[in-house]
Structures are given as C-alpha cells and as structure tokens.
C-alpha cells in the first residue's frame, strides 16, 4: 500500500510544496537526495532534510498494517493494532477508592490517555484530583500502580492540610488490607511522608507559566520515569482570564492538548485536567456547559462531569471511547473521594465512624 505524503507529520506548507512538485507518495521520496529535493520543491535544505528523515522513519519500521502509530517525530515504527492492544493492556489503570467510579471508567483512570473533569465550583473536582494523586502511589501489590505524580496547580487549591488527610486515610486503608509479607514490606514505602515526597508540585500563576511548564515537562518526565500521573488543576482558570484574541486562545489550547496527548502516550502517564463550567444561552434558555469552547471538547479522551442533583453528588462519564455514559453517586468525606454506601445510614454517621481520631465536638462532614 502506498503511503501518501500528506499523511506525514510535517507542516502544511511543506506538504503543499511537495505535492505541487509532484511527490505524491512516500515511495517517490525514497531515493531522492536532500539537495535535489530542495531544488525541485523550493524547500530550504533543512526542511528537505527533515522531510527525508520523516520518510525514512516511516518506511524503516515494522510491517505495514491497519495500525496507525509512528506519527510523532517520524522516527518511530508502525505498529499493528494487535501490538497496540497488548501494550494498552500492560498499562494498569489507576484505581481510586471509589469502586463505582472505577467501574464507570472501566477499571480506573486510564494510563496513556487524557481525562477531563468538569463541574461547578465546590462539587469536588480538586478533591478527585488530590485523591488520584495519592491513589497513583498505592503499591502494586495492593492493586495500585506504584507511581509518582506531577501536580500542576494553577489556582492555589493544592492544600497540604487536605493532602495529608487523604494520604493518611489511604495509608490506613491499605494497612488494614495487609495479608502477606510482600504487602507488609510495601507498607514501609507507603507512608504519608513518602506520598508527599513522590508528589511533585508546580504552581503556575498564569497561562504563560503553564505553557512554559508543559514545554519543559517531557524532559522532567524522562528524568523521572516513575511518574504515572500528571494533574493540571485547573486548565480553565488561567485561560479564562480575559483574552483579546479568542482565536489565539483556541490555537494555544489546541497546541496544549496535542502536547498532553503526546506526553500521555510516549511517557505512559495518565493526564488528568479540570475544567470549569460556563453558562451558554441557547434561544432564551441558559445551560451550563464545560468552559474553554467547543474545540476543547476534543482534547480529552474521557470526560467526566461532576454535578449536584439536590443534595447528592453525581459523576457522569459523558465521553468515553470504551464505555457507555454511566452516572454514579459519590461523596466527599474527611478521607477523600468515596462511594456512597448502599446502606440506609445517613452520610454524617458514617463519617463519624471512620474518623475515630477526630474530636467528638466535630460536626458531621456532609449536611
């Protein structure tokens, strides 16, 4: 099968020049020298060299099959769909402490993909991010991924007081599950202190700092191969400051989305980002929709919407390539993001049971 030149990852102007000079397929470029190519297509020598490197990268790889692959940088080989499936299955999802949410996500937060959480202020987006930042560190012998996390905080809501709550509860939960020696040994490396030391925090104060951090992140990830989760809380906040040119914002967001997807796949990390809600007027009716515009909707593979239904908190998976949209109930306790028990007990009593160390005078955590 001939591979057409327009499918290579080159800039559009270069592709146009190639096609205009008569180079339709990569096969046409196989035996051309850079100087010759640059003369015929009026590309600069450097561009011609890049084109040829891209072509050689594509054809030098494995067998051609239905699988895509090999896009980024042009130097990787093609993969079959079967190989891709096997690779995906090797990557464990990040299990939360909420089994219902894990089920809705198909096993947990998927590694190698981008996930977005949308919701109104106060519904629990940051709580879920903090929970996952701890959950990613759960040792493998407990069913976790045993990885580190990079947490990009743009709002200042990464509060150590809360992280310590969640970490303490996670450590306690795991220590109650210990059954064998391997798990006992693993608990020595899973303490509140180690959880904090494996969480890398970056505070970005505006969108330029965020963009800068994302350009430098691939390098950081290469130096820290144990990172399995990248959290950005939130993407919306810095980008919803006033932009004079909204199309510039869209282009920057598109570039950011591409970077995140490429980081997720090449470094095998799960990318989790939060978004705000905005009201949109449609023919007299106002509706709440995720912020950052329509095209941003394509940035994440999976989108989760957290919202209130009366006094209940609901999580709805409204975009997912694998699973049908599912809605689950959740609650935020002093220990973190949790399922709502099916029992008849009101949440307040349950929270009290778990948190025996808390002072007796403390009021119930959920009203």
């Amino acid at each position: 099968m001939q591979r057409s030149v327009s499918s290579l990852s080159l800039s559009p102007s270069v592709k146009v020049k190639l096609v205009n000079a008569g180079f339709q397929f990569t096969a046409d470029l196989l035996h051309v020298k850079p100087l010759q190519l640059s003369k015929e297509t009026s590309l600069s020598q450097l561009e011609a060299l890049e084109v040829l490197q891209a072509v050689r990268g594509e054809t030098g790889g494995g067998d051609n099959g239905a699988g895509g692959g090999g896009g980024g940088g042009g130097a990787s080989s093609s993969l079959t769909a079967l190989e891709l499936l096997q690779k995906e299955e090797e990557l464990r999802s990040i299990v939360t402490f909420s089994s219902q949410l894990d089920a809705a996500l198909g096993g947990g937060l998927p590694v190698g993909k981008t996930t977005e959480i949308c919701g109104a202020p106060g519904v629990g987006k940051t709580q879920l991010c903090l929970q996952l930042a701890v959950d990613v560190q759960v040792p493998q012998c407990f069913g976790g991924v045993g990885g580190q996390v990079v947490y990009i905080d743009t709002e200042g809501s990464f509060l150590l007081q809360r992280v310590v709550d969640i970490a303490t509860a996670a450590v306690q939960h795991c220590s109650l599950l210990v059954e064998d020696d391997e798990q006992q040994v693993a608990m020595a490396t899973f303490t509140v202190e180690t959880i904090l030391s494996n969480t890398f925090l970056v505070r970005c104060h505006d969108y330029v700092e965020l963009l800068a951090e994302l350009h430098l992140l691939p390098d950081f990830l290469s130096n820290h191969p144990k990172v399995r989760l990248l959290v950005i809380d939130s993407v919306a906040f810095p980008f919803r400051q006033h932009f004079d040119d909204l199309s510039q914002r869209t282009r920057l967001l598109n570039g950011l989305a591409q970077q995140l997807i490429s980081m997720a796949t090449s470094h095998k990390i799960a990318v989790l980002m939060t978004n705000q809600m905005t009201t949109r007027l449609r023919g007299g009716q106002s509706q709440q929709v995720p912020a950052l515009g329509e095209s941003w909707g394509h940035a994440a593979t999976i989108r989760l919407l957290l919202h209130w239904a009366g006094p209940q908190r609901l999580a709805n998976v409204f975009k997912s390539p694998n699973h049908m949209g599912a809605t689950v109930r959740y609650q935020i306790t002093s220990e973190g993001f949790r399922d709502v028990d099916q029992s008849e007990q009101p949440p307040s009593k349950r929270a009290r049971k778990h948190t025996v160390q808390m002072a007796a005078a403390r009021e119930p955590s959920e009203t």
Partner: protein, 334 residues
C-alpha cells in the same frame, strides 16, 4: 530575548518576526511560530524550550519539602476558637475567600474582627501586620471599630493583656473609599501594592463587591461586566499570591431562582451569592453568614444568633457554627 542561550540565527529570526520577549514567544502556538519565523521544527523546539526555561519560576518541588517549611499551613485566625476550628485554623493566606450573606448578617463585623486579629504576632494567629479595608458602599463603621478595639481583651483571652494594650490597632488599618470600578482599579493597582510591598498590611478586605459590579451595568452589558470582573479577580489573585496575603471579599446575595440549574450546590438556603457562576469560579473558599430565627440574650440585651457556614473550600467540610455578635466581636460562646 538576547539572554536566551540560543543560536544567533534563531534569535535573529525571532526578532524579524517582531517577538520581543520569551513570554511573547510562548504565546504563539507551535505551528504559527514555524510559519512566522521560517525556522525548522527542531529550531522551533529549541526556541520554545529556551523561552520556557526563562519563563519558568519554580521547578517542580516535592510536596514534602513544602510541608516541612516553617510557614506551611499558615492561617489567619478569626479571633474565636470555635470559628477557627470550623476553618481549620483560620483564613487561608493565599487565594480569595468570599463571605456572603444578607444585609445585617454580620459580614462587616467579622471583617472588622479580622482587621484586628491580623495585627497579632503569628503565635497568636495573626500575621504581624495591618489591613487595608476597601469600602464601596456605606462609610466605614469607625465607631464599631473603636468598640471592638476597646473590648479586645475580652475577646482575645488567649493573648496577654500587655501585648493587647501595646498594639495601636487603628493606626494599622488603612481605609479606602471607592465609589466606582475605575477608582477600585486605581486603588488595587497603586495604593494597595504599595502598602503590601512595604509590609504594612497583610490582609485585604473588599466590602462589598456586588455593589460595584451590579449597579454599574445593565443586563445587556454582561460582556463588559464579565471582562471587568475577571480583571478585578486576576488583580486580587496576583496580589494574594505575590504577597502571601489573605483576601476577603464581602458579597451580597440574590434570591435563588428555583427554575435555574441546581448548579451551585444543594439548596441550604433560599439565597445565593451574587455575581453568578463567573465569579464563583474565581473564589477558592466560599463562606456564608446567615441570621437565624433564634435570639440569644446577654445581660439586658438580646441579639439574633448568626450562623457561619462553609459552602465550599478545598480543605474544609461543608459545615457551620452558630455565633453571636457581641460587644467584643463575633464569637461562639462555648
């Protein structure tokens, strides 16, 4: 731009494209950069990395390092131990805290109390500095402030009386009256940063903001209002993070429209903070104060009991505490 460690050829291409700083370079998307500078993609990559390195303020840092810093978990005490417990220590020193409620609920009372509590040393929950109080509506309640100052030793039994009497409270509260958005912006961009830079204040109170943003705009001007609100919020956030200073915004409430979305939380009251979702997204800690139906008697005076509630906060449970507004301040008698 010249300070970046790059091949001069790349720097020349960048200046030909009229990009003057690393920040400007980062604001242009990758493919646009290639087009505008005519550089190859690997050159553009180098350029972006160099620009990013110069714009980056801090490297990723392990949370444990922050946890061990002496001022980790710094809070501004509210002056009452029960209310502090509700807030797990007090106001956050970074980020915007909103206090909303109906008129007469006690918001200004609590704000005044904070202006005094900030002046104590950190061991007593203060920040050892003054406060700037921006009034947008009524004139500043100076008499009430004097009364609170006189009765401080009643409220703050945890502080030695000698320390209380040595503090010149009224000297360190800077009062600004602003009547419209323009003067608010001037105040926030000139006078407040000056006070902050000089270390004279470490608390910023805006009382109240709905007054400014509601009266100036008709419904049709919502685009302009949104822009102004975002600019204002951005200024507050920058001041707060740059000077690690708590910002308290007092807000009014509007009636909760039953037909609108359940968006902002379960209905615990029939009113919700003004300025809608756009402003709610900018707030890190949202508190509400309500008047209850119960009165509490003290001596021959009786006043209506209030309730301070946490609507949302990253580190606080949704909860509340009853409090009374006494002569010496807002407190919960245990």
């Amino acid at each position: 731009m010249d300070q970046l460690e790059l091949n001069p050829r790349i720097i020349a291409a960048v200046s030909r494209a009229h990009l003057k700083s690393a920040r400007e370079v980062l604001c242009v998307s990758g493919s646009d950069l290639q087009r505008v500078t005519g550089l190859s993609s690997s050159d553009v990559q180098q350029l972006l990395i160099a620009a990013a390195t110069s714009c980056r303020r801090h490297h990723p840092i392990a949370a444990l390092v922050l946890h061990r810093k002496f001022d980790a978990g710094l809070r501004l005490s509210v002056g009452c131990p029960v209310l502090n417990q509700l807030l797990r220590g007090g106001l956050l020193v970074g980020g915007v805290t909103e206090l909303s409620g109906e008129s007469g609920a006690g918001k200004t009372q609590l704000a005044l109390q904070l202006c005094l509590s900030v002046q104590y040393p950190t061991q007593y929950g203060g920040l050892h500095s003054g406060a700037v109080y921006i009034c947008t509506e009524d004139s500043f309640p100076i008499k009430r402030l004097q009364q609170l100052i006189t009765d401080q030793s009643l409220l703050r039994s945890d502080v030695p009386p000698s320390l209380i009497s040595s503090l010149q409270f009224s000297d360190r509260i800077y009062i600004e009256h602003v009547a419209d958005l323009d003067s608010l912006q001037v105040c926030l961009s000139r006078r407040v940063p000056l006070l902050l830079t000089r270390g004279l204040v470490r608390l910023l109170v805006v009382d109240s903001l709905a007054a400014l943003f509601r009266s100036e705009f008709q419904a049709a001007d919502w685009l302009e209002r949104s822009k102004q609100l975002l600019t204002f919020s951005s200024t507050l956030h920058h001041l707060s993070s740059r000077f690690t200073t708590p910002v308290l915004c007092i807000n009014q409430v509007t009636d909760f429209l039953s037909s609108s979305d359940d968006s902002l939380g379960p209905l615990s009251s029939s009113v919700s903070p003004a300025l809608g979702l756009l402003w709610a997204n900018q707030v890190m800690v949202r508190l509400m104060m309500r008047r209850l139906q119960v009165t509490v008697a003290q001596g021959d005076q009786s006043s209506v009991l209030r309730r301070l509630e946490v609507v949302f906060a990253p580190h606080l449970a949704r909860s509340g505490r009853d409090a009374a507004v006494e002569g010496e301040g807002v407190l919960t008698s245990v």
